[in-house]
Symmetry: C2
């Protein structure tokens, strides 16, 4: 029997948030690296596109006209996946195995900026801060509506993710139910909070209980530099490739100084450094394969904002949530070689070849100067 | 408050096998149908491709030469995701949240037929029976190896699924652990078997306990023809779009006459009619958009075959498994318009627009004469 070597031996890792395993096959990366580094793809998007339904002043599918907006813009999606209340009467179940539950809610679009050609990595820091502020406002507004039990902020970027419009934008879906994945994560956080064997110096969650993500980020934070899975840190936030990462260059961004359960719990300094780390992570992404790096991004936090009393946010059981961002990008080897999720993965278990540690190293090696902003021709910027 | 209408009102359905919900947004299908029916794509694949590593007599990447095989061919994958035992010593856990477990096993390739240009829908019935027989043999052989706890048979078809070689083939991965998804399904089946409130005329599982899938398929089987979710039936099998389907045209194939826990429990008649329904489902798939319909297909059954004593298969707790096939195809509207799994879906919950009932209707409307086998020019067949 040989000693276990995580860079050679097939093994599985557990995602403690979802309780799903990932099969890691690191020996397969010893195959010759077939993927080439694609030539830089200069962005030739116009600053304004008359055919874009998100550009200022243009008319959307539903017939409404966009304002001549100057920073962010929020509107209700013309093809919402859910509809506002009142919903129908819940039907009787046809059979115990055929359950059905009506869902109400709303779907908002949050445009990041009037410029058609920019994105999180190429927007200025004040612009990214403004986006974060807007997410928080929509979260507060929607989360307080009657019957809303969950608010999901997400961005779907790139044609490879099915996003046909490059105009920088995200979506916010508000629902009368807590969806499967965040419900699982919250259940895991709750279980962890009631465990008693945790004795690290990590920050604690509400009532002094241990927090799964406070513990995890604390452990990663104190790994030696240039080892482990941390990509970058700033004063309040860490970006890392989680131990249980599924996508080749999956990243989680989370606060490490204290337990923070939602966007509306952030103080001014934490908000500024949140913008900083989101900008730096996405710059590294774009630089990895010299392309506009496609991803699904989502914010997990308290299902809805806490109640307030006299200007103070009230604590409750949903404060077990620990604010974090998931980046799930499909690219594997170059701007045109993606990972496919098929066969064994959809029938049995998620699988990866490149280890999370190798992915983190490659992201650490990337520059934070955006590839389109280098040298003399570098004029792509919102400032 | 209005009455609930499943073809109009957003709702969620529960998948009782995985305990995950699916958000259904049927009102969105009332948008004008933008997808066109693509022209038939005549298959121009050669019967033999000198550059294909699966064609008879050709040399594979690892340097080995294929036999001049005449029906099916089995060989070990040259780039297996797992390696045969002995594995390394399990390492000490770095932290309770960073668990790691070595995995051993093997990855086999099962070629369906020497002909490069055929596939399940265009192979003859005896050829499909031979494939089923081969799957059973590999399942028996691998499942009896020391340390193997699970055998997954699957097919990954089509470039859109990341499968670069059109030569008809499937894979069988054998593992020293039960993967996440089948482990979840087995847990659901076990829970259901110990529930006491079931009083239908459906077949029962081992020891007379109720079986989730026997109950479900029984319910669907007796829905009025041309309603509900059944696509086709034959003497022993049903193909249906499950109530909780996620992919637009997802299909489950399962036996309905009696509880059958694995391929090696099938009698001769059941095997023949299994080949029949697999052929008919995939013909309908190809005809839906007049193309070679891409999918991930997987067989779920007992993790490994039962022990035998004097020619008799012994019953044990793994017999709660109910043999079934999942087809998970990504196409949505045409041969070139696929569903994307992104944004809200990867961050929160699976979502679909077209209802499972509508999908079943469209598959019922498809012919079982393959679009490439119609009329005079119809020579595409292995017989
Ligand atoms: Zn999360
Ligand atoms: Zn299954």
């Amino acid at each position: 029997m040989t000693e276990f070597d995580p860079t050679t031996h097939p093994h599985r890792r557990l995602n403690p948030l979802t309780n799903q395993h990932i099969l890691v096959s690191p020996h397969r990366t010893k195959r010759p690296w077939l993927g080439q580094i694609e030539a830089a793809q200069p962005s030739d998007l116009p600053k304004y596109d008359p055919g874009c339904y998100l550009c200022p002043g243009n008319t959307r599918a539903g017939g409404k006209k966009n304002d001549a907006y100057e920073s962010t813009m929020v509107f209700e999606n013309d093809y919402s996946a859910v509809l506002p209340p009142p919903g129908p009467i819940a039907p009787p179940s046809l059979h115990p195995l055929l359950t059905v539950e009506p869902v109400q809610g709303g779907c908002d679009v949050v445009c990041f900026h009037p410029r058609h050609d920019l994105s999180l990595p190429t927007l200025s820091l004040p612009d990214v801060e403004k986006i974060i502020e807007t997410w928080m406002q929509v979260y507060l507004k929607r989360g307080k509506e009657t019957g809303i039990q969950y608010v999901q902020i997400f961005e779907n970027k790139g044609a490879i993710m099915g996003c046909s419009n490059p105009h920088p934008h995200s979506q916010v879906w508000s629902l009368s139910t807590v969806p499967t994945l965040p419900a699982n994560e919250l259940a895991s956080l709750k279980r962890y909070a009631s465990s008693t064997s945790v004795a690290s110096k990590a920050p604690k969650g509400p009532h002094g209980h241990p927090c799964l993500l406070c513990e995890y980020v604390h452990y990663e934070f104190f790994m030696p530099e240039n080892e482990g899975r941390v990509v970058i840190k700033n004063d309040h936030w860490v970006a890392l490739v989680p131990w249980w990462a599924y996508w080749p260059f999956e990243v989680m961004v989370l606060p490490y100084q204290r337990h923070i359960s939602s966007l509306c719990h952030l103080n001014v300094a934490e908000k500024t450094s949140f913008a900083d780390i989101m900008s730096r992570v996405t710059k590294r992404y774009d630089n990895l394969f010299s392309c506009s790096f496609a991803y699904a991004m989502g914010i997990h936090q308290r299902p809805v904002p806490p109640r307030e009393e006299g200007g103070t946010l009230l604590e409750d059981e949903d404060d077990v949530a620990h604010l974090h961002v998931h980046f799930e990008p499909p690219l594997l080897r170059s701007a045109s070689v993606r990972k496919f999720c098929a066969g064994f993965e959809v029938m049995a278990e998620h699988q990866r070849d490149l280890t999370p540690e190798q992915a983190a190293q490659r992201l650490r090696d990337c520059s934070e100067v955006h590839y389109l902003m280098r040298g003399e021709g570098a004029v792509l910027h919102s400032q």
